[in-house]
């Protein structure tokens, strides 16, 4: 496989390309609104459903809104949903996983039961249930998508804490009288951080996918918001005559997910191949 050398390191070409896509996503997410593009919300019914042109690179949708600027604006929502959901799942999961793994006994018993029950729901169905209760909106979307990654991070940190607890450096920290809080935060958590980061990258792709699935189903957010899943849903009725309305947001989503998956896989294989089994 072709590789590219960067400084002392050499990276596979496909990883460099994936990193470029991820960088583009982050750039569009942060700076999208400041770029000299059409207003992603501005309607112009005179120019609806136009084919791609030099004025509208990806054409226009049924309300005459510029598809390219909507795609760029969508990056922000994709990032917010993905990072927000994974961050939420990671914080909650890691916290309870640490506590369950370190203290064991009834805390662990309750934790494990709760995880079992959470895993009894298929992912999208759990997310749909949360949206049903919390109503539509960005916040409930993040919550809905984030909840399903709690068991992933919870199990990972519980398992690793169980192993780390018996290590000598933890035993010696305890022997010199460190509090449990200090041991967990200063001695055990730093050893977990890397695995959590790797699994987090892999979870990012899944979170973005589930978020887009909910908005595609029309239950996550208001349809005016330029989010890729919503755009696919809005373009669906017109897709036989204007396939670019679904192809553009679809391929964008696919490209971002592929890039994130490849980067995550690469990080995992390089830094912690043990994670290969069963964690995502």
């Amino acid at each position: 496989m072709p590789r590219i050398s960067i400084g002392r390191d050499s990276l596979p070409l496909v990883i460099v390309f994936s990193l470029f896509i991820v960088a583009l996503l982050i750039f569009a997410g942060f700076f999208g609104p400041y770029l000299p593009l059409h207003d992603p919300y501005a309607q112009n019914l005179m120019r609806s459903l136009e084919m791609p042109s030099s004025k509208h690179w990806f054409g226009t949708d049924q309300f005459g809104r510029d598809q390219f600027s909507r795609i760029v604006a969508g990056a922000r929502f994709t990032l917010l949903i993905g990072v927000g959901a994974v961050g939420f799942g990671l914080l909650v999961g890691a916290l309870f996983g640490l506590l369950a793994g370190y203290f064991g006994r009834w805390i662990d018993a309750i934790f494990s039961r709760v995880i079992d029950v959470m895993l009894a729901f298929p992912a999208v169905i759990l997310a749909l249930a949360v949206v049903a209760v919390a109503g539509p909106g960005l916040g409930s979307l993040i919550l809905a998508v984030g909840i399903r990654s709690i068991p992933v991070f919870g199990r990972l940190s519980r398992g690793q804490t169980l192993a780390l607890r018996e290590q000598e450096f933890v035993q010696s920290a305890r022997a010199i009288g460190c509090s449990s809080g200090r041991i967990l935060l200063r001695h055990i958590f730093p050893n977990l951080a890397q695995s959590l980061m790797i699994v987090g990258t892999l979870q990012l792709a899944t979170a973005i996918l589930i978020g887009a699935t909910l908005t595609f189903l029309g239950v996550g957010m208001s349809p005016e918001i330029p989010e890729w899943g919503s755009m696919l849903n809005a373009g669906r009725p017109f897709m036989l005559q204007h396939p670019q309305l679904v192809l553009v947001p679809g391929f964008t989503l696919m490209l971002v997910m592929t890039a994130l998956n490849l980067v995550g896989d690469y990080l995992r294989d390089r830094f912690d191949p043990r994670l290969r089994i069963g964690y995502h």
Binding site: D116, F121, P122, V131, G218, R236, V246, G250, M254
Partner: protein
């Protein structure tokens, strides 16, 4: 063996009931967790105060919490999931009418992902680095990276609209099943083919496989009888998990292909906040998911006699 299997089955079913008990509690608590006044939200903006009061009483929201749950379980035991707010039909009937179509699609999806995934994985493992391996890699990369709903739309455009090979809307006969079933199977094909490939590669390098080659057995026998049977154990464990993805995928795919299953009912009931239907469907999905997982565990035990049950 028979006795152990029986006691294992008993163990798993107890476990199943405990999980379902918790699930039923969550589904029950769902409605009570709606921010604000659940009765007001559920009745909708046009409801008169009398209707809201009526709803509150029929849900038992004026009763203490533990009593509410007891009433919920009592009704559940009798198969009473309440009536839909939209159609005023019994939820059990609404779901029962559509569930077979959903299960048919999910079963077809699982079947395709296992058959296609396992064969692709075996072929890729037999010729690592060759074109069939690359093809398997590409298919699994696509299966993992393409959102199910986008794959569905592409298939509709490509095979349904441009090539006019297959029908892409509605149901009736096997031809209507092909496109949606293949669509939902793709992520499973990706996962299972990768898993089969790596476990097949591992098995092929084992001593007993080398022995089988050395004693001059025909390739078909070595591969199918000695290697494959052992290589399939790893993929089988994930089928149960895959079924969860499958159920999630089915909801989306049913909407795209206008398949007459529970998917549209589920989404409509979320949009209308038709909670009896939402509760009923979530219960139905989790029960099916749990049962499939028990089934897969048993299958696993049957295929591999070494597995310690319990």
């Amino acid at each position: 063996m028979g006795l152990m299997l029986l006691s294992y089955l008993g163990h798993r079913i107890t476990h199943l009931f405990i999980t379902l008990f918790f699930v039923s509690f969550i589904v029950f608590a769902m409605v009570r967790m709606i921010p604000g006044d659940p009765a007001l939200v559920m009745a909708g903006p046009e409801a008169t105060p009398e209707i809201v009061e009526q709803l509150r009483a029929s849900l038992g929201l004026d009763q203490p919490f533990y009593l509410q749950y007891w009433i919920f379980l009592e009704r559940l035991r009798g198969g009473d999931l309440g009536d839909s707010f939209q159609t005023h039909q019994s939820v059990l009937k609404e779901i029962g009418m559509r569930l077979p179509a959903t299960l048919q699609l999910a079963a077809a999806g699982i079947l395709i992902s296992v058959l296609l995934g396992a064969s692709l994985g075996v072929l890729a493992a037999l010729r690592p680095g060759r074109s069939i391996d690359t093809l398997a890699r590409l298919i699994s990369l696509f299966g993992v990276s393409s959102p199910t709903f986008f794959t569905g739309l592409i298939f509709i455009l490509a095979f349904g609209y441009y090539l006019r090979l297959l029908p892409f809307a509605g149901s009736g006969g096997l031809r209507f099943l092909i496109l949606p079933a293949v669509t939902i199977s793709l992520s499973g094909v990706a996962f299972i083919s990768r898993l089969t490939r790596s476990s097949m590669l591992e098995v092929l390098s084992q001593d007993y496989v080398r022995t089988a080659w050395a004693k001059g057995l025909p390739p078909r026998k070595v591969i199918l009888k000695h290697a494959l049977r052992n290589a399939l154990l790893a993929p089988i464990t994930v089928i149960g998990l895959q079924f969860g993805h499958m159920l999630s995928g089915v909801i989306v795919i049913e909407i795209i292909f206008t398949w007459p299953g529970t998917g549209k009912l589920f989404i409509d009931s979320i949009l209308f906040r038709d909670f009896p239907v939402i509760q009923g469907l979530i219960l139905a999905y989790t029960v099916i998911f749990a049962l499939v997982n028990v089934g897969v565990d048993l299958l696993y035990a049957l295929i591999d006699p070494r597995i310690e049950l319990g």
